[in-house]
């Protein structure tokens, strides 16, 4: 590769990082937490810490009563029932009802041991963690969630560009697999850490960038394609993909009991259903789409569709119909959220996600360090100092904010509908407070150490809060048979100690004079800059 091309590609790599690095960090870090949405759901609400039962009460009467609240069955657009599982050990029902021109989402949860309705809880911690990653909780005043999702999609594309340019920029990529010069200056250590994390997380980064970009593309491109291909009618795209919808017959029919469906094994794998979607509840044309755990397949569910009246198998249509393209599409979400290999895989995803976030932050810090402490920088030292503080404050601020909302959710008092707003204000409040602290503090290294220690202590306090709220210690809950919440507690303990350990190892200042002498300009530019 000629020098000019290498310079261009290096510039593209570094400028995309410096312009969008902080936002990329936010998306990568929030994604690492978003994976545990279902586990955190049980953790955040002590009422959901239910031990699994062999003798669950029937769900059919519960759903009948729930559906009975709707005046006209024709207004129901969707019914879903989720059977108890390890992570969500309760019945969950959802009914979507058309009210005027809008669709209202109604949800209920029941204790499978008693059939008692679990207390209604507004969207909170788990919802925030997932949705902030998916669409940055983009406010409706600025275009709503679709815009946010589109923005995250663009970040995925930028990440793909960064990966391609990063691979081409680093000529000694095999060497970087094992290069970590701990005795050199801070800048060299950061650069080595950036490269080391980059090459070790490379396959993961590629998968995350592609699947993340694709998940956003659906929100962004499908309406755009509808407008372009179908001359403004985006509904036509959905019809062309999903096929014409089956209409209600208007004749009521007696549906197969939902508890019988719960005992209906998959025709191939023998797995029992995880959940069931009901189309046209109570109608002669009612259908059950039964979702099974996908065994070892790379998909969210294996599905079977039957008539809800006769039980006769029906063909899967639209995106559910088996074909090479739908099979590939079905793999994208599980690949992105790591749902195909149990809790161990999720932890591996979490570590890789944190590694990816750290790589992005370190890339920015290397860029700033090089310019702040060499003739390469065209701006004043004050400018680079502020940029450095912004990077430290914004990156660690999102970490502190994420820990803070665990407490905000646990100690929330007020209307359930306003819970998510409180979570949001706490999140941004903590984030901005950390950014302000980073700007006020003189020593960036000390700031990082202190904030990391704060995060560590903050995380270690969470299992205590959880035990106080539940009125039982984690191992007592575990012994009762509930797994998800104690697992989150254990993970938090490990994570808290890990953060304290890292805080203890972080440098207090820029490094000794001896280290500075040992680092040469070649150390910094050897692999990452254009050949001279």
């Amino acid at each position: 590769m000629d020098r000019d091309r290498r310079v261009r590609i290096y510039d593209a790599h570094s400028w995309t990082g410096i312009c969008l690095g902080i936002v990329l960090f936010v998306v990568c870090f929030s994604g690492s937490l978003a994976m545990f949405e279902h586990e955190i759901m049980s953790w955040e609400d002590p009422a959901r810490r239910i031990a699994p039962t062999e003798r669950a009460v029937p769900v059919q009467p519960l759903m009948d009563a729930f559906i009975g609240e709707v005046d006209d069955l024709a207004d129901i657009t969707f019914v879903g029932v989720t059977y108890p599982s390890v992570t969500e050990p309760y019945y969950a029902g959802q009914v979507n009802v058309r009210v005027d021109d809008a669709v209202e989402f109604r949800r209920r949860k029941w204790d499978p041991n008693t059939g008692a309705l679990l207390p209604e809880r507004g969207d909170g911690l788990s919802t925030w963690l997932l949705d902030f990653h998916r669409d940055l909780m983009w406010p409706a005043a600025f275009g709503g969630r679709t815009i946010g999702r589109g923005f995250v999609c663009i970040l995925g594309i930028v990440m793909m560009l960064s990966i391609i340019t990063g691979i081409l920029t680093h000529r000694k990529i095999l060497k970087e697999f094992f290069q970590f010069r701990l005795t050199k200056s801070v800048r060299v250590k950061w650069k080595d850490a950036h490269n080391f994390l980059g090459v070790w997380t490379l396959p993961f980064s590629v998968v995350m960038a592609f699947t993340g970009a694709w998940l956003g593309v659906v929100a962004l491109m499908l309406p755009a394609t509808g407008v372009l291909v179908f001359k403004g009618d985006s509904e036509q795209v959905i019809n062309a993909i999903q096929g014409p919808p089956i209409e209600r017959s208007g004749i009521s029919g007696l549906m197969i009991d939902l508890d019988d469906i719960a005992r209906r094994p998959h025709s191939d794998s023998g797995e029992l259903p995880v959940s069931v979607f009901v189309n046209h509840w109570g109608d002669q044309n009612a259908e059950y789409t039964i979702n099974y755990a996908p065994d070892t397949e790379l998909m969210y569910y294996e599905q079977e569709k039957i008539s809800a009246i006769s039980g006769a198998p029906l063909p899967l249509t639209g995106l559910d119909a088996p074909s090479p393209e739908t099979r590939v599409l079905a793999a994208i979400s599980p690949l992105h959220y790591g749902t195909y290999g149990g809790v161990a895989l999720k932890f591996m995803y979490f570590l890789l996600g944190i590694g990816l976030s750290a790589m992005v932050a370190l890339g920015n810090m290397v860029w700033i360090e090089r310019r702040a402490n060499s003739s390469e920088g065209k701006n004043s030292p004050r400018f680079y100092d502020r940029l450095s503080k912004l990077t430290v404050g914004a990156c660690l601020g999102i970490v502190v904010g994420s820990v803070t909302i665990f407490y905000a959710d646990a100690f929330y008092v007020g209307e359930e509908a306003a819970r998510i707003t409180r979570i949001g204000t706490t999140y941004f409040g903590a984030w901005f407070a950390v950014i302000a602290y980073a700007f006020l503090a003189k020593n960036n290294y000390q700031t990082t150490r202190r904030l990391m220690a704060l995060v560590g202590f903050g995380i270690l306090g969470l299992p205590v809060v959880s035990a106080i709220q539940a009125g039982a210690l984690p191992w007592q809950i575990f012994q009762s048979g509930h797994v998800a919440a104690p697992l989150v507690d254990l993970a938090l303990l490990i994570l808290g100690f890990a953060c304290l350990l890292i805080a203890g190892k972080l440098p207090r200042n820029r490094g000794s004079a001896r280290n500075k002498r040992e680092s040469t300009p070649q150390d910094d530019v050897s692999a990452a800059t254009p050949a001279t």
Binding site: R8, V218, M221, A224, V229, Q236, A240, L329
Partner: protein, 104 residues
């Protein structure tokens, strides 16, 4: 009137920025327009069945988009990617304007 004025300002800005910084503008703007309009045009003129084509196209979109952005920095001539992407965009616009929607 206001809508047209805003649109004119945007068009003028894109034109000016393309003239000043063809590589950067191509990677930020023309790569996106070429991806959206190019895939829409391809969908319209493709003789294959609509459903699998749009799904494969949707799968390929992030790769196409990132690939076109990368081309802007890879090519040694700064105007080649710019002109290439503008051409793809215009071809896409022509296909969208001329070809009837599938099933029409």
């Amino acid at each position: 009137m206001l809508k047209w004025m805003i649109l004119s300002v945007i068009v003028l800005f894109i034109g000016w920025s393309t003239w000043r910084k063809p590589r950067l503008t191509s990677s930020i703007i023309w790569a996106l327009t070429a991806t959206v309009l190019g895939t829409a045009g391809l969908l319209l003129v493709s003789p294959t069945e609509f459903k699998p084509t749009i799904l494969w196209m949707a799968l390929a979109t992030p790769l196409i988009w990132a690939g076109l952005m990368f081309w802007c920095f890879w090519d040694s001539r700064q105007w080649r990617p710019a002109l290439g992407l503008i051409t793809i965009t215009l071809l896409g616009v022509a296909a969208v304007a001329v070809v009837p929607p599938p099933g029409a």
